[in-house]
Amino acid sequence: MDMTPFILSFKLAGLTTLILFVIALPFAWWLSQTSSKSKPVFEAISALPIVLPPSVLGFYILVVLSPNSALGGFFHDLFGVQLVFSFTGLVVASCFYSLPFMVQPLQNGFESLNPHMLEASYLAGKSKLQTIWHVALPNIKPSLITALIITFAHTVGEFGVVLMVGGSIPNETKVASVAIYEMVEVMEYGKAHIYSAIMVLMSFLVLLSVYIFNHSQKKVGIV
């Protein structure tokens, strides 16, 4: 059995989770602390991928990343990188698609913190960065784990956007979900079953680990 689509899916999910964590952490922190009137606008924009059909999101990402666009042209001319129908393009598209799954749990976690705890850290002489790293993040562990794992799992399960932006290039953009779609198309149901069963099992284990971890954290809090 060819495991390349799974390896590609995990590589894509791992990179997306890492990049999104770096980008979404300051953004979620800002959303949780700001009283700016523009906050709902940013919240709505970052939540758009949840409600938009993947084809709509995929179409616009395709338009923005194509070599004819300013961004796509910039990357193509300067670095020789083609953002559509390439693995790099898939990572960029996945970062848009999975953004709310990283931002929302982190924002909810930060908002649930006692603000006096953060103020106590500032009064102890700590900067905002030190406070986020040493006080805020360790105290929102369940939200942090949820954000990381759900973003990873959601990216592994991504299909519509991946197909539109990456197509199905073997060893490059043909991830597990796309491979299953193609197997069904050519009626290779046996293979499709095996691939699908692996996806179901992995998704279940990921979700189970999140729930077990969150329950264990609650128990620690009760003692």
């Binding site: 006096h116 500032y122 009064l123 900067s127 040493h134 105290n139 003692v223």
Partner: protein, 222 residues
């Protein structure tokens, strides 16, 4: 000497009021701020700590704190709800403020918490948490110790114990202290001076005997 001049509009129970406080606090003294809810007591402490913006001129030992962020002010703050770092042990809460193990051990010994040093703070009782919070506030050896109703969430036995420990720490370190309290008994036990705030203004200022006697007379007249 700590010189405080603060002006800040506040939303009070009877509409907008101006917190207007102009007072000098003697170095090493223990001052209790009393007053009804919504009179501006907590806001006064928060402005002193730099946690809220206001038109303020605060001078400590001649140095202006006007443009200093909370990180740069030499302040220890005890919150009513403890605000401990739940992910840390008792000792880690103290060392996070300042890596001085000897001072942490001294403070824990003074407040009889040595045996709990390695315990996670989440597992402590309210009284123990408030004692840790007090020790943590002293870790920077602050110029000004601010306490916002530190006794209000505790039962009587615990309140008396914490009061005794506050006296011990104040005697040991001589830190200029401002404490917001509703508790006349605690104020009498701890204060050198009492300020009474009403609608953002100081309406009484004097020694504990003067102020508390006046308060008693007012209560009897009522």
């Amino acid at each position: 000497m700590v010189k405080i001049a603060i002006k800040k509009p506040l939303q009070g129970s009877q509409g907008v009021m101006i917190l207007d406080v102009n007072v000098d606090i003697e170095e090493g003294s223990f001052t209790v701020i009393m007053g009804e809810s919504g009179s501006g007591k907590t806001t006064l402490l928060r402005v002193l700590a730099g946690l809220e913006k206001a038109e303020a001129d605060i001078r400590v030992e001649g140095k202006s704190w006007k443009s200093l962020p909370p990180q740069k002010r030499e302040i220890g703050f005890v919150f009513q709800d403890y605000a401990l770092f739940d992910n840390m042990s008792v000792e880690q809460n103290l060392l996070f403020v300042h890596e001085d193990k000897a001072l942490a051990e001294k403070l824990l010994a003074l407040t009889e918490l040595t045996g709990l040093a390695t315990r996670n703070v989440k597992s402590l009782s309210g009284g123990q948490k408030q004692r840790v919070s007090l020790c943590r506030a002293m870790m920077k050896k602050p110029k000004l110790l601010l306490m916002d109703e530190p006794l209000s969430a505790l039962d009587e036995k615990m309140r008396i114990k914490l009061q005794d420990e506050m006296v011990k720490l104040h005697t040991a370190f001589g830190t200029t202290t401002l404490m917001v309290s509703h508790d006349a008994e605690a104020s009498y036990a701890l204060a050198d001076r009492i300020l009474v705030l009403e609608q953002g203004h100081i309406i009484k200022d004097g020694s504990k005997n003067e102020v508390l006697k006046q308060e008693q007379k007012t209560v009897y007249r009522l």
